[in-house]
Symmetry: C2
Subunit: 110 residues, 2 copies
Amino acid sequence: MEAAKKKRLKASGWIVGDVKAFLGLTDGEAAFIELKLALTDSLKRRRLDLGLTQTQLAKRLESSQSRVAKMEAGDRTVSLDLLVRSLLAVGMTVRELGKVIAAAARRSEA
Amino acid sequence: MEAAKKKRLKASGWIVGDVKAFLGLTDGEAAFIELKLALTDSLKRRRLDLGLTQTQLAKRLESSQSRVAKMEAGDRTVSLDLLVRSLLAVGMTVRELGKVIAAAARRSEA
DNA sequence: TGCGTTGATGTCCGAATCGACATACCGTGC
DNA sequence: GCACGGTATGTCGATTCGGACATCAACGCA
C-alpha cells in the first residue's frame, strides 16, 4: 500500500493494515492473489461483453458451468493456468493479457 | 505468424508452417505455449542475474533442484502457476510481469 | 585420473485441480 | 404463487502437478 493512501486512511479512522499483512502473506503471495483477481475480473467482463452465459462459455472452454462460476468467483480450486487458458480461448491476445496485468499492478499500487 | 515473415521464410527455402499448425493447435493453445516459454526464459535469466544455482533458487522457492530444472526446460509438468509464483518469489513485480508478457507478444508477432 | 559442482531426466506418491453432476439460490415474467 | 433461465456451491472420481529422491552427463580442477 502506498504511503499517502495509508495516511489518508489512518486520518479517517481506519486501522491500517491490508489483507496481506493480516493473513501474513509474503509479497510474492500477495502479488499472486492480486494477479488472479485481475484475471478473474477480466474473464467475467469479457464473457459479458460477448453476451454469453456461463453455460455457453463453459461449452467453448470444454468445461462446465460450475467451473466457470468458480473462476469468476475466484475460488481457490481454480488455477492460474485455467484462468489464462480461458482468457486466451475467448480471444484475448498475449499482448492484451500483458496490458491487463500491468494495469492491475498500477491500480493496486494506487 | 505474420505474413511478411512467412514470405521471407518461403523465399529462403523453408517450408512454411509453424509449430502451431504442425501440431494442430488452436490460437489460444499456441498463445499459451508462447507465454510459458517467455516466462521460462525470464526465470532463468533472473536466476543467473541473481547469481544463484538451481539448488539455491529451489531453496528460496521451497522447492527442489529438479523442479527448477524442469521449469527452465519448459517441462510439461510445470504449470503456469508455478512459473508465475516463482517469478514473483524472486522479486519480479506484477507490473514487470505484465511488461515481460507484452514484450513476448511483440516479439512473436515480428 | 578422480572428485566436486552444476544441471538434466525419470520416477514415485501425496496434494491440488479438473470436468461433471446435483442442488440451492435469485430474479423476472406469468 | 410457480416456472424458468442464470448463477453459486458442494462433492466426487479421474487426472495433473508438486516436492523429493536417485541417477546421469558435462564441466573444471587438482
